[in-house]
């Protein structure tokens, strides 16, 4: 069937901010969908609150709204745009849920909007556990024994009837939030409370656990004519019981027999037919009993998912593109396979390599979090690796994670012979378990024992045993070209080989090159070499045949950002993608190296050539030696490529744009201080300490409080504000572990200072300020976690002038060619320079969207030799609207972690609120971040002593608006003394009903709770924990409280309006 002609305008809902369980994969699927729709002549209306996405670029859709993803806002947009159809299947769970709510509230019907890709009934059948179970039973598919609970009592009855262990699955949640495995009635009790609260419809599936079964996933596409294609199978190395997002996954499935494979594939076809998914992609999860082959259906995602992105990158099939085409009526045979360029999308890909997905965790950011892996996802990112064999791909995947590991062990990072600990770590699922399999083997545990402890399939353990065997052989044999080749073919990195043989990475590389042992590059081509294909991408391997088609045209290599983690996320991928676009616009070939399968940068058509490789020196050099580019762009991918700048330069690579030396000048404390002195700028008093003694001396000199951190870190890793010597000593003892090669930096902490972020662009001669952003929160909160507003709202123009001058001076002195980001602090009228980053910052996409200028593209063109004048960007863009960036936190994933902000970055993503008034822009940013600001109700206030006076005017006005104020005794007495009535309620340990009871009874509309000092009392920790768990809006800083108050005040009088980003940009252009 050809495409539908009865629909013209299609609404697409994105997935909002990056959170645990929903990362860049929906930017990838969304932007592919937009492209696919527009090439067929459809008009696309896009809504997403996340400015750091490619999909919200003005070029991607006809009309783009960067607005909160709420039913109210969507209603307004539908009213205004009157789309014919809504495509709900490519915007993650957020997009899907919104579509369902819009359908349920009758809004779609009212405006005649048709759901395409999946109808409401199909979504219900897949997502409502009860209906799902019935549907599966109807087609004879086994589902684990289970029951649905809507209350604690109901849940307890079901659970005790089925027996332990049990899995709790809240309905309609993302990445299993609020779910988990319970082993006894006490855990069931607590688990149910959490799970019911986590489900937006208060429904929980209490399910028989199939712990230890194989976890298998199939990715399926089905068109409206009932043609079905199995894109790939995937097998989790970790058996059932660990969320697939947290599992190490291998594709294709390795331990299924043909019969099992075909049986499951047939089940897939009947399942998605029964559910009614038609014109879309879907993901089906199965549990397979390893002892008899019984298959149970666990879950169906009636939409594109994280696994789809992985399946897509693993096979080369652009699933999002195909699914979109199917949604508008095409059948699979009518859609082209863009990779081969000659076959159709009705094709089940064959692959001739092995793919790994490794999850990236950030437990180091949340020391209080439970590192146990369960059915609730905890990882924040992932890498994909490709090798010819399981062993090669596994080792590449591990080094791609950038956790300091050079592969599966033998990298000098561990030496553990404590068998008890090893056994424990095998038994309890955790992020490091794969390493313990190796350690267990080294300690002569049998594969059987390892299997019994971990339930990991014996085949996988045997593969790891083969890696260990190679490691042991290497340590015994003399090194010659045969052993080197042998090691390389088993995925060993030069670093590992160096470690085993007591050599250095450089020497191994030299020896290897001298022996002619270089990687060959092979193709991801969807067809295992059956056809000559048009747009393949590459992976390296140590095998004979090479299919690299590197050209001799002028080209530039872009280094991507690797796995998402806190401090380095989609913002950097956005910049890399723009770099690629800009290169192609300028007539260069763009070559991308990255290993993050969620991203747009690893999409098959973003660059001229894509290398799916880990971003280590070895792997990058291998590509560079092959491609021989004119230069390499390292300033867009965040810290990952930046760390490679100097070593690459040493190896003769030309770094484009700002020099690594200039980057060093900005990062090296001594050189930086000299620079500031030379150009007459201030910085907070500071010093560098190599020992505890030195640190104490410095701190005494500059006086407490001081900000301490190890040098060369990302996202404020291990950064702390300490108030006294005791705190300092404790920090030094833990920090020295962080990075022994680098000293600890100590700065005077500017209490209550105002922070300002500036992004600017320079061609080495002239500088244009792109955006000056004022932080909402006071100094001391990591800039990646602060809310900020562009333009500034409280700075006098004289000071803004000062900021501009300082920015220009810094950019010129550092000879910046490209982007620069500067953080300033303002205290008592003095401007301090806190930090200078002569590279793309996290705020580049935000500023680009706010001012309507593609900064990363301009910066790329400057690196190629263009001047700002030639590019037509010579003046700062004046904006009349306000754009607020707000951060989004993963606290709900880590029960036990205190939800307060500090100098260490904790947020996973961001949203943007944009409006003609600051207050409404801020309100929008809060809604977009999931903080539903109230217009009435009860507000709980409990603030530290020093915040009490600033709280007064806020409390007074809120009270005047009719809000009821609840407070703890200290705050309450202070308010009372100043004539504000509040209801004083007991603290958690003081009696009941206390604030936690109020929250649990859904009586609290907002919480203003600032932590008291660096070691907050347990009491307020638990208040914040419950607030996060229950989703009560929570404000933990005084400045945040003030902005929130202003927003609430405005919301009571001004209705929320929506305006497209195109309209904002048009208004800017009119003014210029």
């Amino acid at each position: 069937m050809p495409k539908r002609e009865d629909i013209k305008k299609i609404l697409f809902i994105g997935s909002g901010p990056i959170v645990v369980g929903q990362a860049c994969e929906f930017d990838y699927s969304g932007s592919q969908a937009c492209k696919a729709l527009r090439e067929d002549g459809y008009s696309v209306v896009l809504v997403n609150s996340n400015p750091a996405t490619i999909m919200t670029d003005p070029e991607m859709a006809d009309i783009t709204y960067i607005e909160p993803l709420t039913v109210d806002i969507l209603k307004k947009i539908i009213e205004k745009e009157k789309p014919d159809a809504l495509l709900p299947t490519l915007g993650g769970q957020v997009g899907l849920n919104l579509a369902i709510f819009l359908a349920k509230e009758g809004i779609l019907k009212k405006y005649g909007v048709e759901l395409i890709g999946a109808n409401a009934d199909a979504i219900e059948r897949a997502e409502t556990r009860e209906l799902f179970k019935q549907t599966m039973q109807k087609i004879g598919a086994m589902v684990p024994e289970s029951g649905f609970a809507h209350s604690l009592q109901e849940g307890m009855e079901i659970g005790l009837h089925i027996g332990f262990p049990l899995i709790l699955r809240p309905a309609f949640t993302l990445g299993g939030t609020g779910g988990g495995v319970v082993y006894n009635s006490e855990e069931l009790h607590n688990g149910l409370i959490q799970a019911i609260a986590a489900s937006p419809i208060g429904e929980v599936l209490v399910e028989q656990s199939v712990l230890g079964w194989k976890e298998i996933e199939f990715e399926v596409l089905r068109d409206s004519a009932n043609n079905t294609v199995i894109v790939t199978s995937m097998e989790n190395i970790d058996p059932m019981g660990i969320h697939t997002g947290d599992s190490i996954v291998v594709a294709p499935a390795q331990t299924l027999s043909t019969k099992e494979y075909f049986h499951i594939a047939d089940m897939c076809r009947s399942i998605i037919r029964a559910i009614g998914i038609s014109g879309s992609g879907a993901n089906v999860q199965f549990a397979v009993n390893p002892s008899n082959g019984d298959v149970a259906v666990i879950e169906v995602n009636p939409r594109l998912s994280r696994s789809s992105a992985l399946a897509s990158k693993a096979t080369g099939i652009p699933i999002a593109r195909v699914a979109t085409k199917l949604a508008v009526g095409y059948t699979l045979d009518e859609v082209d396979n863009d990779i081969t360029g000659k076959t159709s999308a009705f094709f089940e890909p064959a692959i001739d390599y092995c793919v790994f997905k490794m999850p990236r965790f950030t437990f180091e950011k949340f020391p209080a979090a439970d590192p146990l892996l369960t059915t609730s996802m905890k990882s924040v990112g992932e890498v994909m690796s490709i090798g010819r064999t399981f062993k090669e791909a596994l080792q590449k995947g591990i080094r791609g994670l950038e956790t300091g590991r050079a592969g599966l062990g033998s990298d000098g990072k561990e030496d553990l012979s404590d068998l008890e600990k090893i056994r424990e770590q095998l038994r309890v699922p955790n992020a490091e378990r794969i390493f313990y399999v190796r350690l267990a083997l080294l300690n002569h545990c049998t594969p059987e024992e390892i299997h019994n402890l971990s339930q990991i399939d014996p085949w996988f353990i045997n593969q790891i045993a083969e890696i260990v065997k190679v490691e042991q052989t290497l340590s015994l044999l003399p090194h010659n070209s045969d052993t080197l080749r042998y090691a390389k073919q088993h995925g060993f990195s030069d670093r590992q080989i160096a470690e085993i043989s007591g050599s250095t990475e450089t020497n191994i590389r030299l020896a290897r090159n001298a022996a002619g042992i270089r990687p060959s590059f092979k193709l991801v081509d969807t067809c295992a070499g059956t056809f000559e294909v048009k747009k393949p991408y590459y992976y390296s391997t140590y095998d004979e045949g090479d299919e690299c088609r590197a050209t001799r045209k002028k080209k530039v290599v872009i280094l991507g950002g690797g796995p998402n983690r806190i401090g380095q996320g989609i913002e950097f991928d956005y910049c890399c993608v723009h770099a690629s676009y800009a290169l192609r616009e300028e007539g260069y070939e763009s070559v991308m190296i990255n290993c993050n399968p969620e991203t747009v940068s690893t999409d098959y058509d973003t660059s001229d050539r894509l290398y799916f490789e880990p971003l280590t020196l070895e792997d990058v050099l291998n590509v560079l030696e092959r491609e021989r580019p004119k230069g390499v762009i390292i300033q867009f991918g965040g810290q990952t490529p930046l760390n490679l700048a100097l070593p690459l330069q040493k190896n003769g690579t030309r770094i484009l744009g700002t020099t690594p030396d200039a980057i060093d000048r900005a990062e090296n404390r001594k050189r930086f201080a000299a620079l500031l002195k030379k150009i007459g700028l201030h910085q907070p008093p500071n010093g560098t300490a190599f020992s505890v003694k030195e640190a104490i001396k410095i701190a005494d000199k500059i006086s407490y409080p001081v900000l301490v951190r190890p040098s060369y870190v990302l996202g404020g890793r291990a950064m702390e504000i300490v108030d006294n010597q005791e705190g300092l000593t404790t920090f030094m003892e833990t920090a020295s572990k962080v990075n022994p090669n680098h000293p600890v930096l100590i700065d005077k902490f500017l209490e209550d200072a105002k922070e300002i972020d500036v992004d600017a662009i320079s061609d080495g001669k002239s500088v244009v300020v792109a955006g000056i952003m004022e932080h909402i929160e006071e100094a001391g909160i990591h800039s990646g976690d602060s809310a900020m507003v562009l333009p500034t709202i409280s700075l006098p123009s004289k000071l803004i002038g000062e900021i501009r001058d300082a920015t220009k001076k810094l950019a010129i002195s550092l000879k910046v060619r490209g982007l620069i980001n500067i953080q300033f602090a303002l205290k008592n009228g003095t401007l301090y320079v806190l930090e200078v980053n002569p590279r793309a910052s996290r705020t580049v996409p935000f500023v680009s969207k706010a001012i309507g200028v593609p900064l990363a593209k301009l910066a790329t063109k400057i690196m190629l030799g263009k001047t700002l004048k030639e590019l037509g960007f010579t003046k700062e863009v004046p904006v009349k609207h306000f754009a607020v960036k707000e951060s989004v936190f993963p606290f709900n994933r880590f029960p036990g972690v205190d939800a307060v902000l500090g100098p260490e970055m904790k947020s996973t993503g961001e949203v943007m609120g944009i409006d003609s008034s600051f207050e409404i822009a801020y309100a929008k940013s809060q809604f977009a971040a999931g903080q539903t600001l109230p217009k009435s109700g009860k507000i709980f206030m409990s603030v530290r002593n020093k915040n009490r006076s600033p709280l007064l005017p806020i409390a007074r006005e809120l009270h005047g608006m009719g809000f009821e104020i609840l407070s703890t005794s200290g705050t309450g007495k202070f308010l009372k003394k100043h004539g504000i009535d509040s209801k004083i309620i007991p603290k958690v340990h003081e009696g009941r009903p206390n604030i936690v009871d109020y929250m649990k009874n859904d009586e609290i509309a907002l919480i203003i709770n600032t932590p008291s000092g660096s070691k907050p009392r347990q009491d307020s920790v638990s208040i914040r924990a419950v607030a996060v768990g229950k989703g009560v809006p929570l404000v933990t800083t005084m400045e945040g409280a003030r902005a929130t108050f202003l927003a609430i005040k405005a919301l009571r009088t001004v209705p929320l309006e929506v305006k497209s980003i195109h309209q904002y940009h048009r208004e800017i252009k009119k003014k210029i």
């Binding site: 027999s257 094709f347 064959a350 085949w459 056809f531 004979e544």
Partner: protein
Amino acid sequence: MIKKALLLLEDGTCWEGSSLGASGIAAGTVLFYIGMTGYQSILTNPSCAGYIMVMGYPMIGNYGINEEEHLSEEAQVKGCCIKETSLFYSNWQAKEGFCEFAERKGLVILNGIDTQAIIRHLRIYGSMRGVIGTGDKNRATLRQTLLSSPSEPPPAPLRKVERLGKKEAPWKVAVIDAGIDRQSIGILQNHGFYVTLFPWNTPSSDLLSSRPHGIIIAGGPRNTAMISTLATTLNNLYGTIPILGLGVGFEAACLSLGATSKKLPAGHFSQNQPVIHHQSKRCITTIQNHLYTIEPSFLPGVDITYRNLNDNTPEGIACNQINLTALHFSLASDTAIIAEFMEKMDA
């Protein structure tokens, strides 16, 4: 000590690796199989008899060898080339390891080579004859063996007449065994057919004497003598009874109707051959094991029912006048094949 093995192709290209499975020399046409599972089926499939199979998926042997996936008792393929043979297997159904099986059944394995490079070579230069030799076989000897090896596989062995199922079954079919596999026979039995298996040289009168409701002709690989005998048999049968041709049965039917055969550059050997049904536009992913296709120069009245979505070659024909359906893919590909044939037998 690792024993060496090598693959020598007709054009002189050579790959060296190690030897697993049986020792000796295996010569035949070199083809490739890109399925990620299914190694056991392809190697025991009578349709692949006499070939050397290059395995596209790099890791082979992971789930061992089980009872159910045998398409015949023997290793039909003479030799195979593998990137990395798994000596360890893990699957509840497995009865033995892949290497033990290969050794037991005389299957020669060239292991530890870049199979993808060979596949690329075959894709570019077309399939050709080759020889695998294990140990320190002299290259000249190997070349001699290669050059004296037949350019096509032998005809399917002549079987004894065999009857399966219950006599009172609603459908009786006569099956001409031109190398039919065990799975296909199993499917017929599962549908409650009373199946009589005949050797491929059975004359049409003998086939009809058992008074079947329909005739099925299935198997492979293509052998010139066998296929022309089959074509003659078919010509004698046309118009008397519903006929279903599968695999080489498709090729024989086409030949009998005036089509000529054409060698595909590298054949269709995989579980993922996409075909589209012309009339309904229904697409199915099929299992195929054939090296030849046909030039569609038919007599009037013959419809091409299926085409391959990758290379547009005909994959199915129908001629209602003579009650013939012929498909170039395995019976296991689609349950509708049997259903349609039953309708015809009912009519």
